[in-house]
Amino acid sequence: MQVMAQVAMVMNLDKCIGCHTCSVTCKQAWTNRTGVEYVWFNNVETRPGQGYPRRYEDQERWRGGWELGRRGRLRLKAGGRVRKLLTIFSNPLMPNISDYYEPWTYDYENLMTAGPQQTTPVARPRSLLSGKDIRISWSSNWDDSLGGGPELTRQDPVLERVSEEVRLEFEKAFMFYLPRICEHCLNPSCAASCPSGAIYKRTEDGIVLVDQDRCRGWRMCVTGCPYKKVYFNHRTGKAEKCMFCYPRVEVGMPTVCAETCVGRLRYIGVVLYDPERVLGAASTPDPKDLYRAQREVFLDPYDPEVQGAAERAGIPPDWIEAAQASPVWSLIQRFEVALPLHPEYRTLPMVWYVPPLSPVVDVLRDTGHDAEDAGNLFGAIDALRIPIGYLAELFTAGDPGPVRGALQRLAAMRSYMRAVNLGDPPDPSIPAAVGMDERDVQDMYRLLALAKYDERYVIPAAHAEAGERLDELACTLDYEGGPGMGGWGPFGEGSGGVTPVAVETFHALKDRQRTGAFVDPADGRRRVNLLNWDGRGEAGELLPQDGDAEG
């Protein structure tokens, strides 16, 4: 047995209100640059809907991910190595910018410079690619909240797989939001597709990264990723993707999307797994068994044998402890309410989802029934084939069993906890009906409903010694006016030396978030950093004091 650690995420879809805060903060942090205007490391899709880029789930067209060959061997759906090299000059399976959207800005200057005229001057949309006027006809969220009506919604590739009758009823019945980031798969097909070998999975935390110095812009990763979460920076000619905010995760902070989620629906934790079992699990013949197969790749952090193997593999003890306290592990393995997104792509994704129960509850309430009664809910889950069928296409390759099981456990929790909260005697038969005991339900309720920051994000810091902190602080000085600050170098965007990834001094930022003091502890008494100044304390140190005249 080999042991590796993976930092993974679970999102509780019941709580997502589709506010896009995660997308916006992520964009501000990472893709607020030329060349990646259209890039959303995190996006929130309305389901049913086409997603971003449009219809990315139609693998008959885009051919992302893996498939099984005739003899049961795993191979890239878009074709093997030779085929990749032969089509390297023009990748026939790469989405065009129109499948994403042409990024634009507005000609605001016209508002200021237009002369006197009868009508109000307007700011016309201008393409950020060509600089010409454009007509905006699509964007990353054009069908948000079923906008655009049934015509757009019906083109959802997942909906197309659900039966006709279901499709017609569906739009009336059911809608939810699906936030997506890179899945940081155990078996990443983007990495396997990269001719240069620039995409790699980190051994310490399983984060999948693009080595910007080795990427040569062959674009095969964009095709290889079935989730279309590798993007091509059209200015630098390099692939970019969600990197799980690794500069933050390395110091024990959650990703930007998780940190800023207003619904607090994201959970981050460590999962131990056996890399030797990955290929076998990904080659499971029946796609419906992939969910179960992937769970068998995970290792129980309480098992002493696993702990010993982890120690031998060099996994530090605090990581093993974190794996035991991992909310991700609990939701996937203990409560069995989290499910993987599209396991049939055979990449073994590591961002899992708690399927939404609220739509079922809503339908039930609209029919006048008691929507939190266990019997009613169980009945509704069985009767509402539409959402179950759709969710199964999304999370279990079409097998309704695990989806029904997860929803029933969520329903059991609701009705059991209602009794507790109302002071009625709790009914132990409700958890028993879904194979849980009362403590399980209480724990699950705590994790899903109450869990505080430190329970939702159990992220052990990467091991680096104290001197590193000074090193990080030095980074910002280097960064100021450094290479990559904008404009074209002699060989294209940002050419030249290394730019530190850690734009913010993450150690210092973490300290200030947990400190009771008024001023950023990193700044001490000497100066106030106006860029970070959030109004706590005074900016008085900005001005020279009487005694400081010697400087």
Partner: protein, 246 residues
């Protein structure tokens, strides 16, 4: 003048070519890319890019056979002069035509597709002129110098001269009497080579042959430091694994 054109220019160009690549690889790994514009437009690219690239790869093979391999070697392999010329002119013509038409499509695309045009740098434009110049002159040399004008045997002048450069015993006189079109093609090529390391053409040296042999999934350990900086001396990571007792 003879020495300048056929001795100094080649050596200067080779030094810049080699040194430039080494320097650029060390200084600018991040800028080392194809800078593909497929994201903007793929219909024309789908036609033009393979035409151009396969054409120029064929042309490369042709040049290796025609210039690097001595006449004696091909004759020893049983390819006589007439056969060689027919092959060289036909295959050279075809690959040259492929390259040129591919290039024409790509230049047309670059000029007419708005986003592609906006993404074109001055560096690109200079590179296109040099590249197109070398290709057109090469094709002219094949068609007019070789095929129509009754066949000029460059393997008795141009090729030995080219090889002599690498023997460090340059024979400029061989080249001085070659037809003008061959001379022009050679000079344009040297200029192109001198510019090569500073353009996007460097992606030639990234041809991902290793992809055929490497494992699909690559695991890499996090670099020693946090962030992108190299670790300064004295700050190396300590071994954090618990030591076993006994």
């Amino acid at each position: 003048m003879k020495t300048f054109l056929w001795v100094i220019v080649p050596y200067v160009s080779i030094v810049i070519f080699v040194g430039g690549h080494v320097w650029r690889y060390r200084y600018d790994k991040f800028g080392w890319t194809t800078r593909s514009s497929q994201l903007y437009e793929s219909r024309l690219l789908r036609l033009g890019s393979p035409l151009f690239h396969y054409g120029i790869l064929f042309a490369l093979v042709g040049h290796v056979i025609g210039i690097l391999v001595p006449q004696r070697a091909t004759e020893a392999a049983g390819i006589g002069d007439p056969i060689y010329h027919v092959l060289a002119i036909s295959l050279g013509g075809v690959s040259g035509f492929m390259t040129l038409s591919g290039l024409a499509i790509l230049v047309y695309r670059r000029r007419t597709v708005g986003p592609v045009f906006s993404a074109t740098t001055v560096n690109d434009k200079v590179m296109y002129v040099l590249l197109a110049g070398a290709i057109v002159l090469g094709l002219l040399a094949t068609v007019f110098g070789n095929a129509l004008a009754g066949g000029y045997d460059y393997r008795e002048s141009v090729s030995p001269w080219f090889r002599s450069i690498f023997y460090l015993h340059p024979r400029a006189d061989l080249m001085a009497h070659a037809p003008l079109v061959f001379q022009a093609h050679a000079i344009s090529a040297w200029v192109l080579y001198a510019a090569w390391p500073f353009t996007r053409l460097v992606h030639l040296f990234s041809a991902p042959i290793g992809y055929l042999y490497r494992p699909y999934i690559i695991y890499r350990s996090r670099p020693q430091g946090l962030g992108a900086r190299p670790i300064p001396r004295g700050w190396e990571r300590a071994d954090i694994r618990p030591r076993r007792q006994g």
